[in-house]
Amino acid sequence: MKKLLELKNISMKYQTLTDEITAIDNLSLECGEGEFLSIIGPSGCGKTTVLSIIAGLIQPTSGEVLIEGKPMGKNSEELGYMLQKDQLFPWRTIEKNIFLPLEIKKINDLAHKNYALSLLKKYGLYEFRKNYPDQLSGGMRQRAALIRTLASSPKLLLLDEPFSALDYQTRLSVCDDVYGIIKAESKTAVLVTHDISEAISMSDIIVVLSDRPSKVKSVHKPIISGNSPLRKRESPDFSIWFEKIWKELNG
C-alpha cells in the first residue's frame, strides 16, 4: 500500500512568558492511502495540535510532514479539515456553504461546482441546497460539513472530533454516515478523538498517545468483523479491543 501521510519525529514546543511547554515529543506515524487512522489520547494531550501540524497551520519545532513522500506546502490543496461543530456559515445556503472551499481555493468553476453538487445529490442533500443551515437537523448539517470538506477533492481528510457536539443517538448514526461516505469516496482520513469506541469502530489504525508531552504509546490495527461502525460495535471483538485500549489509556 502506498504511504499517503508520514510524520517524522515531530516535536512541538509552546512558549509562554513564564514557561516552555513541550506539547509533542518526537512523534512519528504513517498512514497508507485509503486507510482510516485514529489518534486517541487523554484530553489536553495535544491531539488537535497534531492535526494542525499535518494541515500546515502550525509549524512544528522540529520534524517533518510528508504527503505522498513530499514535504507539504503551507496551504496544501490536498487536505480537507472537519471540525467539532459543523461550522456552516449561517448566512449562506447549503449550496453556497459547500462552494466555500472552491471560492477560497479559487477553483469555483462549473466543473468543480457540479462535482460538489453531485456529492449533495449522492448523499441526499440536493433538495436542501437552497436551505439555510439552521433549517437542517444536526445530522444533516454534519453531513453537509463533510460534503463541504470533500468538495475540493482533497486526498486526505482531517477530522477533529467531528461528532463530539452531537447527542449520543445522532452521533452513532452520523458516525456511520460519515464513515460510509469516506469509504465510498475512498478517502484517507485521520481522526482525532477521545472516544475509544468511536476510534475502534471506525479505524484501520489506532495510534494511542500518552499524556503531555505526547508520544506514541502504541499503534493498533484492530480487525473487527462488520462493514460499518454500528455493525462493528456489535461484534464480540469490539469489547476486547475496547478493554485493551481503555487499559492502555488509563495505565
Binding site: 494541515a55 497551520l57 471540525l83 461550522q87 456559515f89 448566512w91 471560492e103 482531517l158
Partner: protein, 269 residues
Amino acid sequence: MKKDNKLSAEHLRYIKNIKRETCIVWILRISILLFLLGLWELLARTGVIDPFITSYPTKIIVTIKNLFVENNLVYHMTITLYETILGFLIAVGLGYAIALALWWSERARRILEPYIVVLNSLPKIALGPIIIVWCGSGSKAIIFMAVLIGIIVAIITMLNGFLATDKNKIFLLRSMGASKFQILLKLVIPGSLPTFISMLKISVGMAWIGSIMGEYLVSRAGLGYLIVYGGQVFKLDLVMAATVVLCILATLMYALVAMLEKLIIKYKN
C-alpha cells in the same frame, strides 16, 4: 401556517388573544400620551401652572404652524438634517474603515488602544472651543462635532463585532488555505452584519447628539439654534415646538434604519 386554512379552534383563540393583547398595549400607549397632553393643556389654561414657562400643546401646534409659514421651519430642519445625516455617514463610514484597519493589524490595535480609551471617555463637548477656532462657526464645525461624538462609539462597536468572529470558523478557512483578505471578505464582514446594524442604530442617536450639541455651541440656523435662541429670549413656545419637531425627525431617522435592518434580513432569507 398561511397555507393551512383549517386552523383549530384553540389556535384561532390563541391568535385572537395575541391580537387583543397588542391592541390593548396600543390603546394604553396612546391614552397615556393623550392624558398627559390633556392634563398639560388643562393645567396651563386654568393657570395652575404658568403657561409662560411651560407653554401648552395647542400653543405648540400653533407655533409650529406659524414657524412653517413665517419663519422658514423647513429651512432650519433642512440645515439640521443635513448636518446630522452628513455627520452620521462620515462617522459610520470612517468608523467602519478604522475598525477594519484595527482588526487587520493586532499591533496597531495594541498601540492605539489607550488613545481610543481616552477619546472615548473624553466629553467631546469640551473640544467645542477648539473646533470653533479650527472650523469656524458654520455647518462645518457642527458636522465635525457630530463626527467626533459618533466615530469613537462606531469604531469600538464595530471592532468588537469583528473580533467576536468565531475562532473555529477562522481556523476552518485557514485550513482551506484562505488569505487574511479572504477571511475578512467571506467571514468577518458578513458575520458582523448584525453588529453593523446595531452600530447604525447607535450612530443615529450619536449623530443627533452631535449636531444639536454643535448647534448649541455655534450656529445661526437649525433646530438646535431655535431651541437655544428660544431659551435665551424666553420664548418657551418656540423651544417646545422645535423640540417636538426634533423628536419627530429623530424618530423618523431611526425608523429608516430599522427599515433597512428588516430589508437586509428579508434579502438574506
